[in-house]
Symmetry: C2
Subunit: 218 residues, 2 copies
């Protein structure tokens, strides 16, 4: 199934927002975007409506659409929900996971480990994504899986920042291992608790996240 043009444009605009080309609070001019992407206003409007529904921009009727980056409070809230959703995945996965998937988790963790040793942040990031995607899948609930991906995607630009914390990679790795161990033991509660703590914004992570928001806030 091929993608629609407006979906591609929506993704591109999303990119422009994430990389700061379009700043928070700024109005997204339809004609300007139309000329930038060399299309008419119609597909631009479709893309903007898609972004409005995903919450990345706010659409004020008859006034225009504006970039609305989440503030500190909303961001904390979103991470809390992400932590809870992933915790649910972990708990459900504990009783539903396949041996094959457990094997894959071990493999992914090994690659993660190697990336940490090699100080390969990108490699770590990639395998980390894979780890979490595997847990989503092993929840055995594809609707839950989709919801997790949706929120994960929305938090992506902020999530990446977290990993920059000194020593965070190693701690994150040990949490991954604890999660896999709990899954192997079929201990859903432990898996959920570790996963929740793994995602949750707390302690130094909180301060770091706040610090990363400073520039956008002023």
């Amino acid at each position: 199934m091929e993608r629609k043009r407006s979906d591609i444009i929506a993704d591109e605009i999303e990119g422009l927002i994430f990389d700061g080309t379009i700043a928070d609070g700024e109005r997204l001019d339809e004609v300007q975007l139309a000329s930038r992407f060399d299309v008419s206003r119609t597909p631009i409007r479709e893309a903007l409506q898609r972004l409005a529904q995903s919450g990345l921009v706010e659409q004020l009727p008859r006034r225009g659409v504006f970039v609305r980056q989440p503030g500190p409070v909303e961001l904390i809230e979103m991470f809390e929900v992400m932590a809870e959703l992933e915790a649910v995945c972990a708990r459900l996965a504990a009783t539903r996971i396949s041996d094959d998937a457990l094997q894959k988790l071990h493999e992914t963790n090994a690659l993660c480990d190697a990336a940490v040793e090699a100080n390969d942040a990108n490699g770590y990031f990639r395998e980390n994504e894979r780890f979490h995607a595997l847990v989503y899948r092993q929840s055995g609930n594809s609707f839950l899986e989709q919801e997790c991906f949706r929120l994960h995607r929305r938090l992506q630009p902020f999530r990446r920042l977290q990993l920059r914390l000194r020593g965070r990679l190693r701690q994150s790795m040990s949490e991954h291992k604890a999660i896999v161990m709990a899954l192997e033991n079929g201990d859903g509660e432990t898996a959920a608790n570790v996963m929740r703590a793994h995602i949750a914004v707390q302690g130094e992570k909180f301060h770091h996240l706040m610090a990363s928001l400073k520039p956008a806030a002023e």
Copy 2:
């Protein structure tokens, strides 16, 4: 903030799908809908894209949009996620709820009780909604609250069916009371577990849900 026309149309189309005017799998003809609502294709297309994003219809590029009602498996999955989300709300609310909100929960339950005695299904339904909305709010996480409302709304047409179960109302009431008690005690785990079981589709509820789907399945 006034609503957009296409949003109103989207809601109306949603209604047409829910009340069976437009059946599952049917194609939503743009020109037909345009003449029905006496507008051009433009706002119809906007409405359809909104519905596509909410998952109520599926949009196949260059082919059209089709009603896609959830099948049994997806429905069970959605209810499982709803149960987990509400359980999270309950657990968080246990440590965050205000005295005022606890008071309101008691009041709502009293009205619920009265509706059960009076065999007032609609009244029960209304107060039940209020009860759950209060718990969402008291999670202290407005993003979570919104997500709960979103899924709740999507499950609404199926949720209503559940209450028709003989004796379900009284059991549901006692579950509500157990939840409030747990919240009063600040016992998040109990509140979460009771709430999860309260929403989850299991036992007779499962068979009832399946039975209600039969007509649409054949």
